[in-house]
């Protein structure tokens, strides 16, 4: 059986691809090739709701939709990564911090063996 993390991804893929809100039974049918039970789908949806990625409406049965697009999530993450304050390096280790244009030009000159002023 697939791990919960993998299922979360699969469910999000379906929600992102869907035109509108989707019921849990529809998700189960779409994930039929994975042999997922309806309770498992609900478990996954609850986890995703707790993480703030999914919301449901008040229809009966409940229908679920993604709170933000994949691009929005990627952009939110990159905003944090790129804009991280100095002490955020403890949260994630970034290969190189961003430098301003002057610094970038100086670095390229350094690499070219040119004036390093």
């Amino acid at each position: 059986m697939a791990s919960l993390g993998e299922l979360e991804r699969a469910v999000m893929e379906r929600l992102w691809a869907a035109e509108g809100p989707v019921a849990a039974t529809e998700l189960r049918d779409q994930l039929a090739d994975r042999g997922v039970a309806l309770t498992t789908v609900h478990t996954v949806l609850t986890r995703l709701e707790q993480k703030g990625f999914v919301r449901h409406d008040d229809a009966r049965p409940r229908r679920f939709s993604a709170r933000a697009s994949r691009e929005d999530h990627a952009a939110e993450l990159m905003h944090e990564v790129l804009g991280q304050a100095a002490d955020r390096q403890a949260v994630l280790a970034r290969f190189v911090g961003s430098v301003n244009d002057d610094e970038a030009r100086m670095l390229r000159e350094l690499l070219a063996g040119g004036p390093t002023g």
């Binding site: 990627a74 002490d87 955020r88 403890a90 911090g97 430098v99 610094e103 030009r105």
Partner: protein, 307 residues
């Protein structure tokens, strides 16, 4: 009477709160051996905290006995003080408690806050990343050239599609090797005490300086480890090229953190292109011995009978 032990510890604390970090931050040798320098910084931080709290504790408990273990034991057993307990003893004890609580508390708090942010990032990442070009690296669809790793029990190494587009295969391998080194050597743990120290003692300029130095040294150490695993004739140049490409390509970035990283990135590139000679073994061992001594002195002062 102030026990000589308390005075010695206070002097040590004062030295470690300002002149020693200032000297170490300004020294030139750490660039030649970041690992040894990192060990020294850890010793400075630990010995600093130990001597600060220790000096107050030894003075505060002096009326109960001639050494810290003896006095602490007397207090635990409920024995009365043998010398009169004055106001300054109580003040010292209170300060020791507050300081110890502050240092440990902020460390725990930083850890919790960092862990929470990391978990959030990991949750987001697990939804949006795809398998990357390297086995353990994930690909994030974004034009800015960025690479980073999230340490922890389930580490995550992420490359942006912009980074993959910007770099050739060797340069990309250098980036991944650098991030792998961070994860393998648990650099986030070396950094944590200094993040916490900075937050706990914002009035101490040395805390800020120490944090900046350790941050830079950790990057240099990861560069060194990465170099050892890189193929090709000129791994140093390959890594330097990757650094320059990644540093210059993320236009439109919020300006808050920019000035901080500029000098550090430059230092990394310079030492890759024009490597200094490695530290001679004698110097290396002296530095390590100094670090051990730095930890032994306050420990001995705390445990041996008061002078």
């Amino acid at each position: 009477m102030l026990p000589a032990t308390a005075v010695a510890l206070a002097v040590l604390a004062a030295l470690l709160a300002w002149p020693v970090p200032a000297l170490l931050a300004r020294a030139r040798w750490p660039v030649r051996d970041p690992l040894v320098a990192l060990v020294c910084w850890q010793a400075v931080g630990l010995a600093g905290g130990l001597s600060m709290v220790g000096a107050l504790l030894v003075h505060g408990l002096a009326p109960w006995g001639h050494s810290l273990p003896e006095a602490a034991w007397a207090v635990v057993r409920g024995h009365p003080a043998t010398d009169p307990v004055r106001g300054d003893h109580w003040v010292a004890l209170t300060l020791a408690g507050v300081l110890a609580f502050q240092l440990v508390g902020v460390l725990v708090l930083s850890w919790v806050r960092i862990a929470r942010t990391r978990r959030r990032h990991r949750e987001l990442l697990e939804l949006v990343v795809q398998p990357g070009p390297q086995a353990d690296a994930r690909l994030l669809d974004h034009p800015a050239p960025v690479a980073f790793c999230i340490p922890g029990a389930r580490p995550l190494l992420v490359l942006s599609s912009g980074m993959v587009a910007e770099l050739d295969e060797d340069q990309l391998a250098a980036v991944v090797a650098h991030e792998r080194a961070h994860l393998a050597e648990h650099h986030h743990l070396l950094l944590l005490p200094f993040v916490a120290w900075k937050a706990a003692l914002p009035v101490l300029p040395a805390a800020e300086r120490a944090h900046a130095s350790v941050r830079e040294l950790v990057e240099m150490r990861a560069d060194d480890v990465a170099l050892a695993s890189l193929p090709g004739a000129t791994p140093r140049r390959t890594l330097a090229e990757a650094i320059v490409a990644a540093a210059g390509g993320s236009g439109g970035v919020p300006s808050g953190a920019l000035a901080v990283s500029g000098a550090g990135v430059r230092a990394r590139v310079v030492r890759l292109l024009e490597p200094a000679d490695p530290l001679p073994p004698a110097a290396r061992w002296s530095a390590l011995a100094a670090a051990v001594l730095l930890l032994l002195i306050p420990t001995a002062l705390l445990l041996l009978p008061a002078l």
